[in-house]
């Protein structure tokens, strides 16, 4: 058997430097509040990235992330913890941070469906909402353990999503997308007229508690007071890490290859024995499960659900995150979620026009960088020099 070619490993340093600088930048951006400072910082960030791009500093970063992903992922998690620790008593920033993490999880689910299998889903927010409503109902009316509630939320999203499978499998391209849009509208109407679910006013969600540890109470470490959102940060971070590993393994397997093959050419794929329906179903069910899981946790974080929180417009936000980050690249998803979620929160002037901002982002990306900020690299099954 010929040896898999051994390439010299890319150095770790550029990746570590990039993580460190991004962390410092993120802390600064989250900390400042005065609008001129925020705008200045944003301008500085954009210029810095452009300069790095033209000096070719980004390529070594990309290479070290591609080949030393394991180590750098650990650094990234550490960096997230540093940011959380820095803002340990700041409810607002921590909630924003947790929102980013859970939106990233949901968009990773969407990425399995659209990025890999090519199944368009314009009802991402609806499946997110199904998860959140599951938490609301189960936490209010039952004593189901809350970790189980999360799983049930994901399962329900996957199950309800399978109602769409027939039309999604039968129709191609734009028509399948229309089916998901119709579903989003139907679900919203259903929630609005359903009194058990609180109607248009929505309902409260009891906070999470695991083994008697209530997530909604502030706590102390030593003498230092901690925001209760740190609880949610930890569990959201765990969920994001788990989802990231799942998506990565999926991509770097024969199944990832199958999904790519059917997205790119269904006819050729079936001539080589691929079961188109099986893989579309797998991707759609798995993706919606992940979205529902994130939604269930988000429901408990926010403490409140209402039909208006899970609209078609919110689904478009998820799609725009995917487009901005780079379809199929989980790192791109994480980076883009930060941009799309944090930007309008910090820039109060544009908050009212946030959808305009998203539309602009999508148009600019499609025009100037159609593969997104971090284009998906070609698949390596075991990166790091070995194939």
């Amino acid at each position: 058997m010929p040896e898999v070619k051994q390439e010299p490993q890319a150095p770790l340093l550029p990746g570590v430097v990039a993580v460190a600088l991004s962390t410092a930048y993120l802390i600064a951006l989250l900390a400042v509040e005065k609008q001129p400072l925020v705008i200045g910082l944003l301008a500085f960030g954009i210029v810095a990235v452009l300069v790095a791009h033209y000096m070719d500093w980004l390529d070594p970063v990309g290479r070290s992330f591609a080949e030393r992903e394991g180590v750098l992922s650990a650094y990234a998690v550490l960096a997230a913890c540093v940011v959380a620790a820095f803002f340990h008593d700041n409810h607002f920033v921590l909630l924003l941070f947790v929102t980013v993490l859970l939106y990233a999880v949901a968009t990773l689910g969407l990425n399995i469906e659209f990025g890999y299998a090519g199944v368009l889903n314009f009802a991402g927010a609806s499946f997110f909402g199904i998860g959140a409503y599951t938490s609301a109902v189960l936490n209010t009316y039952t004593a189901v353990p809350h970790l189980l509630v999360l799983l049930i939320g994901g399962t329900l999203a996957a199950l309800i999503g399978s109602l769409l499978l027939l039309p999604v499998l039968r129709t191609r391209g734009h028509y399948a997308a229309l089916v998901t849009i119709a579903f989003a509208l139907l679900l919203k109407t259903f929630l609005e007229v359903n009194d058990v679910l609180g109607g248009p006013q929505g309902m409260q969600v009891k906070g999470m508690s695991i083994l008697g540890w209530s997530f909604n109470d502030n706590f102390e470490i030593g003498k230092i007071e901690m925001s209760f959102y740190l609880n949610y940060f930890v569990i959201s971070m765990l969920l994001l890490c788990g989802t990231f590993v799942l998506v990565r393994r999926l991509e770097r397997s024969w199944i990832g290859l199958d999904l790519d093959a059917i997205r790119l050419d269904e006819t050729a794929a079936s001539c080589f024995g691929l079961d188109i329906a099986r893989w579309k179903i797998t991707a759609f069910v798995l993706g919606n499960f992940v979205i529902g899981l994130a939604g269930a946790l988000f429901g408990m974080v926010g403490g409140f659900v209402a039909p208006n929180n899970y609209t078609f417009a919110d689904s478009l936000i998820m799609v725009s995150i995917l487009l901005l980050g780079g379809i199929g690249n989980p790192w791109g998803v994480v980076v883009a979620t930060f941009i799309v979620v944090v930007l309008p929160e910090k820039l109060q002037t544009i908050q009212e026009y946030r959808f305009l901002l998203y539309a602009l982002i999508v148009i600019v990306v499609l025009l100037f960088r159609p593969e997104g900020l971090l284009p998906r690299p070609v698949r390596r099954y075991f990166p790091g020099g070995r194939a």
Binding site: L246, L250, L257
Partner: protein, 257 residues
């Protein structure tokens, strides 16, 4: 006589066009058959009907003793038929290795648990198949074996054709259908490609080939037998030397009535 592939009275229409007209075509194991005929005579349609892309409007197809007339493309592949396409159909953003592995589908473990959780076993399976893909592509172009993880989008047409043939061969099919594999190549490139295909066949004696090809020198050199189509009908059959002098065949190619 047992046939590997046996089409009887095969008919396929597109609107008013009868693309295959009551066609009888048989292939015995280990043969190389040349399927020739002017443009629009139904050669590609024959491949498409056999591989389940189009249904038949009449007649039957038997492969390896089983009726595959109404079988899906998937089932035909699993039965042991692989093909290339007249217009190259590679997945351009994917790597050379990925494209070849798509053809290896039936020999890869597709279980969710295996792929996501049993990474150690997956890695062993990956390495065996990586080695197989390299060995195969080295027959065609050793240079490509060093570039297995580059996207095929950047490669010239001749390399893409080679990869497409490797994709069809990697699963060791019983029957290989080649639809104008040398389209867009120079004379010398075509010769080289055919030599490589014959070399693979020498390694795998069980391989049977049906090839559609316009270069008659090549057909003469590599085929055991030829079938000539015109307007979806078989107008001649036999060794190349024999069909080449057939009056009907010459008329079909010259377009005289």
């Amino acid at each position: 006589m047992t046939y590997l592939l046996e089409a009887r009275g095969l008919t396929r229409k597109f609107g008013g066009v009868v693309a295959l007209d009551n066609l009888d075509l048989t292939v015995v194991p280990n043969e190389i058959i040349g399927l020739i005929g002017p443009n629009g005579s139904g050669k590609t349609t024959f491949f498409n009907v056999v591989t389940g892309i189009y249904g038949a409007h009449g007649g039957s197809v038997t492969f390896d003793g089983a009726d595959i007339t109404r079988a899906s493309s998937r089932a035909v592949y699993h039965a042991g038929v692989s093909r290339t396409f007249q217009r190259s159909r590679l997945s351009l953003p994917l790597s050379i290795f990925d494209n070849i592995m798509i053809g290896n589908h039936k020999r890869l473990n597709q279980g969710l648990w295996f792929n996501l959780v049993r990474r150690g076993e997956f890695k062993r399976e990956f390495e065996v198949n990586y080695a197989a893909a390299r060995t195969l592509i080295e027959v065609f172009e050793p240079r490509l074996a060093e570039r297995m993880f580059e996207p095929v989008a950047g490669l010239p047409m001749i390399d893409r054709r080679r990869i497409e043939i490797c994709r069809a061969l990697i699963s060791q099919p019983k029957l290989l259908l080649l639809d104008e594999p040398s389209a867009g190549m120079t004379h010398d490139e075509t010769k080289e490609l055919m030599d490589d295909i014959l070399q693979v066949r020498d390694l795998n004696r069980n391989l049977t080939i049906v090839i559609v090809e316009h270069e008659m020198g090549l057909i003469e050199r590599i085929t055991d037998r030829c079938v000539v189509l015109n307007f979806g009908r078989k107008i001649a059959e036999g060794p190349y030397r024999q069909v080449a002098v057939d009056r009907q065949v010459q008329e079909a190619y010259l377009g005289v009535e």
